[in-house]
């Protein structure tokens, strides 16, 4: 394979390669159609008993998913229109999905359900509980309604600055939540987990337990020393920071190994779909 496909490539051996690719695509497509037809007939008895297996929309869906999957994989060879179409569809569908989800799961029950409970109960959520303080609920719901309108005003050509008010509220709530939780769970609790007995006794002196405790304390202290940039890393501080770097390298090497496993699993699942659900060859 050559990395570049220039015009010169297209002219000389290109017609041969084009014919080869067309033949491969036609042959593969024919095999797939034949396979699909044989699968429908071959296990007709079992398939007929299971309506889902014979559902036209399920079949169309599986083929759609397979074509989209192959379209995305085609990017590995080179950028092409099929991949760009898949990408465009994904962007559009995901934006709409998030919006619809947010509307029906949050806005309808928590905002509109408080502003116009009768209407929401009649047309959308018949089982929505009846509030004992509808007036207070309405008044309180006006605040996120107004802030929400201000937020969406960001898109308007004029007056978009007003969106800073709801953004300030979002940032304030997040800051307030994170301030306490980070100190409680990520600072105090981690310090507590580090400050464990260095000499571990487990019915007698536990050598490996003691080593583990030592590694834990030394690791935390040396890595923290490395991140202390306001002191120059020279002499004893420098040597300590270097040990911290070694701990970090082992940490990142392990993280890489775990990441590889995750990525391979994602790919394996797509191949399973193509082989099992689409081609029925596994």
């Amino acid at each position: 394979m050559n990395a570049s496909n220039t015009d010169s490539n297209r002219n000389s051996p290109a017609p041969r390669y084009t014919l080869l690719w067309i033949s491969l695509v036609v042959l593969s497509g024919s095999l797939l159609v034949l396979r699909a037809a044989m699968a429908a007939q071959g296990d007709g008895g079992a398939a007929a008993a299971d309506p889902a297996a014979q559902s036209l929309w399920t079949t169309v869906g599986i083929w759609t998913a397979a074509i989209l999957t192959i379209g995305v994989f085609s990017f590995l060879y080179r950028d092409n229109p099929l991949y760009k179409v898949c990408e465009s569809v994904l962007i559009g569908v995901s934006a709409a999905y998030w919006m619809v989800n947010g509307f029906w799961t949050s806005l309808v029950p928590q905002l509109f359900g408080k502003l116009m409970p009768g209407l929401v109960r009649e047309y959308a959520l018949p089982s929505m509980p009846v509030s004992t303080t509808p007036g207070l609920d309405f008044a309180l719901a006006c605040v996120p309604l107004i802030l929400g309108i201000m937020l969406v005003w960001r898109l308007a050509p004029k007056g978009g600055w007003i969106s800073v008010w709801p953004i300030a509220m979002i940032i304030g709530v997040t800051a307030g939540l994170k301030l306490v939780s980070s100190i409680e769970s990520d600072f105090m609790a981690q310090l507590g987990a580090t400050m464990r007995p260095l000499v571990v006794m487990n019915g007698g002196f536990d050598f490996w337990g003691t080593m583990a405790a030592l590694v834990g304390v030394v690791g935390v202290l040396t890595v923290l020393t490395y991140f202390f940039f306001s002191v120059e890393h020279k002499g004893a501080v420098g040597k300590t920071a270097r040990v911290g770097v070694w701990f970090l390298m082992i940490t990142f090497g392990s993280a890489f190994g775990l990441t590889v496993m995750g990525r391979i699993t994602l790919l394996a699942q797509r191949f399973e779909f193509l082989f099992k659900d689409w081609l029925h060859i596994s």
Partner: protein
């Protein structure tokens, strides 16, 4: 001219295989990676699993809570991570249902609700038909707000979820009618792919109420580094990537067999391609370094 021709001949001969290797078109690497995963899948390679301490700790955490106690399962992932996390979720639901735990499903990711629905349809309903919605399990669904959802649930569940995912009022569902806050649960499990997820459950649920319930998590390989500091003091157990899923499946199926093992066997299936692909990764790194050394020594010799 002779010198020039000699130099050219040396370079042509010395343009060794290793030097060409350093400039290898990456599409050959893509092909090798694709084959290293496709072939084991087609050949159905399977290997035995031996539970790690973390997976066993997760199993023991679920075993330690009283049978019939309510548990909260948070599906904090989307289809992009389902390959790693769905096997964990399926095994966890089967484990809890086999112990007759009351299960409350929820999601912090919009697409997590669909993953929870899928798990209910493929594991809970077929293999635990005695489970009744509203009495033995409830699907609360997704709510926007990320960690704000956890924070509000920590003090007031009905304020965050006035209804369940189907629109039924919480007060009409016997399982959750009397639940005020998260301390009603004995175990909270988060199957998470990132933010928000298990980390936020530790920070906003376990932090304020460290003794009220146990927290266990399942995470992707990418996220597990962030969660390691919480184990074992803030999180009793953790399932690490698809390997953790495979080990946990083995433990669950060993004690609670299921009529169709493939339903909670996807983790072990997906471990098959891992061996070949991992060996390929090691081989690629070694080859890359050999190419680097060869390139350096050619440069030094010149």
């Amino acid at each position: 001219m002779t010198t020039h021709m000699t130099t050219q001949r040396d370079n042509a001969g010395g343009s060794s295989f290793l030097a060409r290797l350093g400039n290898l078109d990456r599409r050959w690497i893509f092909l090798a990676m694709g084959l290293s995963i496709a072939v084991p899948i087609l050949l159905k390679l399977r290997f035995p699993e031996y539970p790690s301490p973390m997976s066993r700790a997760t199993f023991d955490a679920v075993e330690s809570i009283p049978e019939g106690a309510p548990v909260l399962l948070s599906f904090d992932y989307d289809p992009a991570s389902a390959a790693e996390l769905q096997p964990m979720a399926s095994a966890l639901v089967h484990h809890c249902a086999s112990r007759h735990q009351k299960i409350v499903f929820m999601a912090l990711w919009p697409l997590g609700k669909q993953q929870a629905d899928k798990t209910i349809e493929t594991v809970l309903k077929p293999f635990h038909p005695e489970y009744k919605e509203g009495v033995d399990y409830v699907q609360l669904g997704y709510q926007s707000g990320n960690e704000g959802v956890i924070k509000l649930m920590a003090t007031n569940i009905p304020a965050q979820y006035p209804t369940d995912a189907s629109g039924a009022a919480l007060k009409d569902l016997p399982l959750v009618a009397g639940m005020r806050d998260l301390s009603s649960f004995k175990l909270i499990a988060s199957i998470s792919a990132g933010y928000p997820g298990a980390k936020e459950w530790v920070q906003y649920a376990n932090g304020p109420m460290p003794d009220a319930f146990k927290v266990v998590g399942g995470s992707t390989g990418v996220q597990v580094s962030q969660l390691l500091p919480y184990y074992p003091h803030q999180m009793e157990g953790m399932l690490v990537a698809v390997k953790g899923a495979a080990e946990y499946e083995m433990l669950v199926e060993g004690k609670y067999p299921i009529a169709q093992p493939e339903v909670i066997g996807q983790g072990r299936v997906r471990m098959g391609p891992q061996l070949v692909a991992h060996l390929l990764m090691i081989g690629l790194i070694v080859l890359g370094n050999i190419a680097m050394v060869a390139g350096r020594s050619r440069g030094g010799a010149r």
